[in-house]
Amino acid sequence: MSIGTPSEQSSNYEYVTARVRSRKAKLYDEDDYRKLTRMGTGEIARFMEESEYETEMNDLGARYSGVDLVEYALNRSRAKHFSDLLRWADGRLYSYVARYLRRFDTWNAKTVLRGIYSGADREAIETDLVRAGEFDEQFVSRLLDAGSVEAVVDLLDGTVLGAGLAEAYEEYEQHDRLVPLENAIDRAYYENLMKGLPADPSRPTALYIEFLRAEIDFRNLRNALRLARSGADVDPSEYYIEDGDLFSAADLDRLVGNTDELLTRVRESRYGDRLSAALDDLETADSLMRFERALDAALLEYAEYLSRSYPLSVCPVFSYVLMKEREVRNVRAIARGREAGLGAEEIEDDLVVL
């Protein structure tokens, strides 16, 4: 991995974006989701077998069934597609993609922490991991074998996600809450995301930074709203991620106490236009869940817009990553929803992000 020192090799944007676009076209569309919401779990599995997920379904079909089969096939396909991205990309493009895909390392680290905290067995944790990041097999299996939260923290200490973990661990010991640890991992990820980028970015790089900034802003916004809504007595700066455009740490502190002002701030920002429908929704219907879905949708739309405006840059690749993620999340939500006996309408309204 050559993160931080972009290789001097030239990037192969043409090749990667062509492949990525082709794969993006094969993702499920709105009609497919509508069909899926009306199926039982067995039918969903069959539907997936007849589409892009054939290999995964055939591999896993003998061992699992029902929702588990769907979920593992989704995870495996996501890991396959994302490591393909890393395989294709050269030069700077590689380092940009790798940087971003490190989010799966944070996901894996957090999953292991949660699993061990809740006393899940090794196999159960392992199946929830997404092997698309920087951690190799060996390191992941050491994490899985760690056995205690403390051991996991020790292992992570040597990696890029380790910054701030020691402090968070003390807090974890005091309150027996995982949240500080998870936040420390997230923050280390986001800080590394923006680190070591060229000081005078070319246009594609500037776009890439803009994209990451949008993600950070949305994450901050989501955290702020959740805090404001839950009324929990938590220091908002604990959740604050730097390098965003929308809030400073002080802003966030103040705005969490005042939802109206918070929303006005968002409305006036450069995301205002895209989010206005969602913001109206939030003010009238008072549904945080819907607003979060609208945030996801807005980020996707923004990514899609960037990928169309700048076809030969990292943007199409990111847009694909986000859309694949959305597909995985949607199909899983549908399968779980059907299993839990939710109606098609309910699933479509509350779970599926289009």
């Binding site: 192969n12 043409e14 090749y15 990667v16 974006t17 062509a18 492949r19 082709s22 794969r23 294709w88 030969l312």
Partner: protein, 85 residues
């Protein structure tokens, strides 16, 4: 930039001398060569994208091939200069 400087140098040479520094046929040859270079550069990107598309979907082979060789028309048109001279 280098080409521009070359052209400027050619121009001054041409202005100073009564006999042309580059005979018409040589000029036409340069024109074809530059056009071929341009076509090659254009095909580099298209070819990479076409190979990517074919890797995902074999049916794209024909379309990819056509799109890849489209810039060849530049060279064919540039060949006209040979006959005009």
């Amino acid at each position: 930039m280098i080409e521009l400087e070359l052209i400027a140098a050619f121009a001054t040479v041409l202005l100073q001398q009564s006999a042309p520094a580059i005979p018409p046929t040589a000029g036409a040859a340069i024109a074809v060569g530059l056009a071929a270079f341009g076509a090659g550069y254009a095909e580099r990107g298209i070819g990479a994208a076409a190979v990517g598309a074919v890797a995902e979907d074999d049916d794209m082979f024909g379309r990819g091939l056509i799109l890849t060789v489209l810039p060849e028309t530049l060279v064919i048109l540039a060949l006209v200069t040979i006959f005009v001279v």
